[in-house]
Symmetry: C2
Subunit: 397 residues, 2 copies
Amino acid sequence: MVDNKQLIQEKLAQAVEILNEFEIDAWVIFTRETFMLPDPIMDLLVGLNVTWQSAFIITRTGRKIAIVGYYDGDSVRGLDVYEVRTYHHGVGPALRETIEEINPQKIALNYSEMDVASDGLTFGMYRNLCRYLAGTPYIERFVSSERVIAALRGRKSDTEVARVRQAVASTAAIFDAVEAYVRPGMTQIEIAAFVKEQIESKGLDYAWDPKYNPIVTCGPNSGIGHAVPGNTVLERGHTLHLDLGVRENDYCSDIQRMWYVLKEGEESAPPDVERAFDVVLGAIKVGEKALKPGVLGWEVDKVAREFIVDNGYPEYMHAFGHLLGRSAHDGATVLAPRWEKYQGICDLPVEVGNIFTLELHVVVAGRGIMSLEEDVLVGEDEVIYLGEPQTELRYIR
Amino acid sequence: MVDNKQLIQEKLAQAVEILNEFEIDAWVIFTRETFMLPDPIMDLLVGLNVTWQSAFIITRTGRKIAIVGYYDGDSVRGLDVYEVRTYHHGVGPALRETIEEINPQKIALNYSEMDVASDGLTFGMYRNLCRYLAGTPYIERFVSSERVIAALRGRKSDTEVARVRQAVASTAAIFDAVEAYVRPGMTQIEIAAFVKEQIESKGLDYAWDPKYNPIVTCGPNSGIGHAVPGNTVLERGHTLHLDLGVRENDYCSDIQRMWYVLKEGEESAPPDVERAFDVVLGAIKVGEKALKPGVLGWEVDKVAREFIVDNGYPEYMHAFGHLLGRSAHDGATVLAPRWEKYQGICDLPVEVGNIFTLELHVVVAGRGIMSLEEDVLVGEDEVIYLGEPQTELRYIR
């Protein structure tokens, strides 16, 4: 297991700064049985599971208090960062006392209509919280922690960037191995099995559900999206597309790569395939140019989307990019159109230290899909690719 | 990966029966990005992850409808059980239409103050649901699904019982291997590492967070509860206690076993250790006798707790038992005192088909803890142990 003690201390210090930036007095993470139902922020700020109802409270003055069941006390103390208060019978009294002692004017809770990563508070636990604090002024002082969490997850520390970079490098090595291994006639299942073998033999983990990781798409008849690899055979004259993300030292990559399967006698891809590649690459390039601190998510998506449409392809029906880090879909800001499902999160600004995927696809009639995805870091003045981007079509012979 | 397609179909059929029993017209599971924030019921009824806001609706007339993002459509269709409706821009319109079409008088949602397993609806998603259904009568018709989920998780099918039984057998085999391997002088870390090697080499998974699995307690100075194994050395004259749960074919075991480390010249444990074992075993036996369909959770705990206290030991500060199945802590009914933290769930009745752990401990001064845990199935007329219970102290020589 990865030792994240130092990382947790770094992120907690960053959290205190962010609470001050947003003028929030106390942030209450209220959760239970996290092995069954994890609040996504627990990984970043606690790094272990708790059993009974537990509150982790961070104040803008820098206090970090944990109120946990008695039998979870020792493990939380082991983090050397929380003032730990334990209980036997119920969390209510200690929670109420602690809140009264802090007396916060503004209390952030993990609920968000727009961002799953900021929505770890269940409705039942919200009701419990209201019950424990009934009759106090505090239940009128709740606000969403969504901007706090967007900043905390989104602004990567150097340690976090280094870990994503490493995951990206490991993914690139797997793509190279795939290219050396794959031959026409193999099925999606066989190709996926080879990738899984690579992931597991290198001691890596999966950045998302291994059922759809890798996604292997080939030819005109394979499904698009989160499809399970099937018995479709890789044929000459078709494209091969892989969407793969690994988790290494708890941080993720999320990359798509494209190959064309050469026909007998061909030395390069036919013009329809080449053109699709150039347009997809071009869209990523214009998106990359638009990706600057302060620009809103939907504005970045817009230029890439327009580039595709202007070049005669139908628009892609997904986001142009999402944050990447502790999770493959790292919550908060998306580079996405202003559709209902992206409401709010596509209006958040790009910030320095964000790591985004840049991704989109078009369909090449009779050949398969053409889809690329790169992982990039937003710097003060430039976008930094965290690995070698794909700038030319690759071939299977 | 385990193929749970048939199990999902079984549990869905059972869900429809239970909706009729509780007179609920529609049960709405409303979730998103389940890989990051899983509603615990998804494993039982869907068995795959979805990305965008998704509703799984089960009606008492037997309909099963899934409204999911376009790119998740194929994988949900692959279950061959849901009517699948997909969307590109947002779940709201299709969700509203579908609810209007069903026109339910009573709608169960996954929120529960008492039971984490029934509390998968986040506060943000609850707010989204209210927004999508604003102006309809349906937002006045929500009820908690907690009794539905307690019944569905709690009443195990034959397939589920067989899987738990298998996990229990594998755990017993590991305990035997531990006994053959362990010698005085080893540390908790070494013993835990051996257990993990056994789990992994047999292709098993962990029933709970591997950080605390197994829990290894030895001697008077090691922590009690969810403590990480440390450098404490196993000494002669002390007790050795393991708490271990494996997951096999997606179902769990959760068992505690006890050894005494014989001193030079000893052939059995001294009287203080023997007596502690007998009292703990006795408490489990009286609890087992009380575990009958219709009895409330706290009533079972009470007899075991009183037995301990009547025998001169302080009461254990935890529950006497919990449900076991898909998860080690399988939610709902607990055999626990009426403390705040067990409120509601200790008042639920024991039912035929429930699988419970029976567990408790006492401390033997200067020796360590004495703690047993068995996994049992509630039958019509009898309690069935799912493996060989520990009825005698075991020895390390």
